[in-house]
């Protein structure tokens, strides 16, 4: 799980232009919204495409994306639940 979370962290830093150093992002830091990293919908699309490429996991729609992309932990859990990683 920790290894998957670390790979997700790497994905965030390579695919997105983050204002925060990726090492400083907690597993539970909200990725979206004013209390977190403040990512937007274009970042979400970038992440979804990155997850498909790097882990082979598919995020079908917006509703799923909102749940899965909440934090590094939720992304890692989704990857694990799909038997990927």
């Amino acid at each position: 799980m920790n290894e998957i979370a670390q790979r997700v962290r790497t994905l965030l830093s390579t695919r997105l232009k983050l204002a925060t150093a990726v090492e400083g992002i907690n597993d539970d830091t909200p990725l979206f919204g004013p209390t977190g990293l403040g990512l937007d919908s274009i970042d979400a699309l970038e992440l979804v495409l990155g997850l498909e490429k790097e882990f082979g996991v598919v995020v079908e729609d917006r509703v799923t994306a909102v749940k899965v992309l909440a934090s590094i932990r939720t992304i890692a859990e989704h990857i694990q639940s799909q038997g990927k990683g």
Binding site: F32, S41, I42, A44, L45, V48, L49, E52, V59, D61, R62, A65, V66
Partner: protein, 141 residues
């Protein structure tokens, strides 16, 4: 082909930068043509005596071509232009062949890889994200 797909674009004639569709696999990929002529009004001023198709309008024609892959009746706006390269000036007499492939999406956002060629030579390429707006949009995340 029943009906001209270009006529399905929401753009009015004065802002349509695609002339004809050569091939289309709905939702997947499309090849379209744009003829550049000295009569194009935007070439009168860009530049007087030295007409060159403005790069932003070349990107617009690439975006409109990509837009042909959206569900019928959709209006969309540019949301992201990545890795855009404008390699060679496009001038009157050129016929631009624009090839767009859909590469995934999420909600109202759709990502495309688009290339433009003149006589087989690449003149431009870009990764373009379009956002569906208006009545056909799902809404904000």
């Amino acid at each position: 082909m029943a009906g001209d797909p270009v006529s399905l674009l929401p753009h009015g004639l004065s802002f349509r930068f695609v002339d004809r569709v050569l091939e289309i696999v709905p939702g997947e990929r499309v090849i379209a043509l744009k003829n550049v002529t000295a009569n194009d009004p935007h070439l009168q001023g860009h530049f007087p005596g030295n007409p060159v198709m403005p790069g932003v309008l070349l990107v617009e024609s690439m975006a409109q071509t990509a837009g042909l892959l959206l569900p019928e009746g959709s209006s969309a706006v540019l949301a992201q232009i990545k890795e855009a390269r404008l390699r060679t000036p496009v001038i009157p007499g050129d016929q631009i062949r624009i090839e767009a492939v859909r590469r995934g999406g999420l909600g109202d956002l759709h990502r495309f890889e688009v290339a433009a060629l003149v006589k087989g030579t690449p003149v431009a390429e870009a990764e373009i994200v379009l956002a569906v707006v208006g009545p056909n949009a799902e809404g904000r995340p």
